[in-house]
Amino acid sequence: MTKPEFVYVTYIRTTPEKLWQALTDAEFTRQYWMNCTLRSDWKVGSKMTMERDGKVMNECTVTQSEPPYRLAFDWLSVFDDEMRKEKPSRVSYLIEPHGDIVKLTVTHQNFAEGSATLPSISFGWPMVLASLKSYLETGQALPPDLSARTSCEAA
């Protein structure tokens, strides 16, 4: 495994169980993931799809699932012909309790050489994670960024 291209961290006032649910429950994900819905049974080897307006944007495969602490999946963007041909990249979540808050580390790595998916990832994740934190702590997600056409495609 090459060194990760991106590492994102956010601290959320919640429990590992609630965070796990927010990351894996289709209805939850739609609330904060810029109108994107993530669907899977989250078992190792299972498919996970990320869809918006009924259209599948990313096709993923679950590679690790240890609720409520570790989750990983291979990510393939399929909304773009160039990206569809790339080898999948790998997303990992690490959930660590720190007293009454939880540290979520998101690592995204193993991008193909000259990946077209990579540049679009870099602004998508901070947006999604800031929204997730807001949703879990206040019950309000951040509004989807309408100017960011790729928010769902990117991450």
Binding site: P4, V7, Y8, T10, P126, A130, K133, S134
Partner: protein, 104 residues
């Protein structure tokens, strides 16, 4: 949020963030390379940045790698920037950048 502003209120620390922005995932030695700061000073600045969650670290083999973590900066933006202002702000930033560009 105080931590974030305190961490950003120092030119050396902003410089370190710029270096990570240019190339993400660097070791301490790589970050020290070419800097007029002692290794100890860089270590101290990095720990302040990490405490403010502006830098995230991961172990990769035997190395500890540092990553720019823009999530808190995004949260600051969301607090004061309204959804519909973003397009205009991006246009203004781009205009400023273009006008201030040097003719190399």
């Amino acid at each position: 949020m105080d931590d974030v502003f305190k961490a950003l209120a120092d030119a050396s620390r902003r410089d370190l963030l710029d270096r990570l922005h240019a190339r993400n995932g660097q070791s301490l030695s790589e970050l020290c390379d070419g800097l007029a700061m002692t290794r100890q000073a860089v270590t101290k600045h990095l720990s302040i940045l990490e405490a403010a969650n502006l830098v995230a670290t991961v172990k990769h083999g035997r190395e500890k790698l540092h990553y720019l973590n823009p999530v808190p900066i995004h949260q600051i933006g969301e607090r004061w920037i309204k959804k519909f202002e973003r397009g205009r702000m991006a246009a203004l930033s781009e205009l400023k950048r273009k006008l201030e560009e040097r003719d190399d």
